[in-house]
Symmetry: C2
Subunit: 236 residues, 2 copies
DNA sequence: AAAGATATAGACCACATGGTCTACTTAATA
DNA sequence: TATTAAGTAGACCATGTGGTCTATATCTTT
């Protein structure tokens, strides 16, 4: 049997607090299974190092001046490498957590966490999982649900005024749909196998029902009031 | 000192599998701190019981025929009571988890979980937290990031073609913006203090740059290519 | 000083659009 | 059976829209 050993994981650290940076480096070195291939105190330098050393994972501080952590995550992901980002932050700011996860952080941990937990988080991420401690995922979900609730309420309030669109007959809806594609009367007539005059009649009825006086306004009304998304109807 | 005791939490169970239902009831009764105030094998009956007994928490099975679990969550929340929903499922279907959390489940647990963990989940939810075990939250986030990645890619591919809008001069953008409000040439002329002819000249230039041949198509192009949202510019 | 881009504006014309009225057919409803 | 709603379609006309060409005035850039 050949000389067998577990390959060390290549880690990079980016944090504008140098003391914290050193602390983590110490910790990871002591652990023995990690190889800290680079450290940086700002994103710009960090990005160059990442390009050069292509680490398996980057521990990235979120709360840095200038080019901040969120931008950092995006730019690292944009490199198209296989480098995973574990976000670090001193605070459990729900909005920040949400945005970081949204743009592709593989995990988010607080600086106040116990060392063992940080090690665990790093290992989980390295194993292809996404790691968010329970406390943070709880905060995340509150924020997540709140934003969806607001979205739903907004849609519902729109639905109340949407009755103008509901007044349209089937045929009128068909005509309006073609109008929203920027097709002329003649074009609509051909598509629906009816005369141009009939199209005009329908269009005039549509205008009256939607209380507008030209096609552009009708199209705008249709779009703003979810005419197109109506059929797709967000499946819960 | 008066007779002091911890008030039992009122729990309801909805699951079409009666055996599982009984099992959980047993478990919760043994625990001693819960009061199972009702059980149901379908959502319709369950809803009525919820209205009647107003439990603190409902354990709701996701995988039921007919009125399924997702609808159940929505309808329970629509009641406007203080009843929390903990979703139960046999499978860790990412899409189902995502949708359940999106519409307001306070937690999601697998039926295969250890009893102690289920008890813990219930208690967390009762304490106002949101509970998703690490394994499930990991699945959730994969799904979450995937959908956002797709959205971003779609936007980026749009951005590539967006140069047509970039070709517009300032004045042309102003004119286009007014067009997207369904204003006539005369109206635009008045708003911008220029002659109607000038507006027409601008509009013709816009058409050529956007490669369309009427205002409706120009407006559609503008909307579909983020002309209006350009200034708002989604802050990460 | 010349060239190019931008904003302005007039003239002319063909055609699309929108408004109004009438009228026929069919299907659903009272 | 009478009525109503929906879809069809013609006629007429005023006006809006879009295409093309020409022509200034500025301002920037070369």
């Amino acid at each position: 049997m050949r000389h067998e050993f577990k390959k060390k994981s290549r880690v990079m650290l980016i944090d504008d607090n140098y003391e914290h940076l050193s602390g983590i480096r110490e910790l990871l070195n002591l652990e023995g299974t990690f190889d800290v291939v680079g450290i940086a105190t700002n994103v710009t330098v960090g990005l160059n190092l990442i390009k050069k050393y292509q680490p398996d994972i980057v521990l990235l501080d979120m709360n840095m001046p200038e080019r901040d952590g969120l931008q950092g995550i995006m730019e690292i992901n944009k490199l198209g490498l296989n480098t995973k980002v574990l976000a670090l932050s001193g605070y459990d700011d729900a909005d920040l957590i949400f945005r970081a996860m949204k743009i592709g952080a593989k995990g988010y941990v607080l600086k106040t966490m116990a060392s063992a937990q940080l090690i665990y988080a790093i290992e989980e991420v390295l194993n292809g999982k996404i790691y968010l401690p329970l406390a943070l995922s709880s905060r995340f979900f509150e924020y997540f649900q709140k934003s969806f609730r607001e979205e739903t309420e907004k849609q519902n309030s729109q639905t109340d005024e949407e009755n103008l669109l509901d007044a349209l007959t089937q045929r009128e809806e068909e005509v309006l749909e073609l109008l929203t594609q920027g097709i002329t009367y003649k074009g609509v007539a051909n598509k629906l196998f009816i005369s141009e005059t009939t199209v005009k009649t329908h269009v005039n009825n549509i205008f009256q029902k939607l209380q507008v006086n030209d096609r552009t306004q009708a199209v705008l009304y249709a779009i703003n009031n979810g005419f197109l998304t109506k059929k797709v109807k967000m499946a819960v």
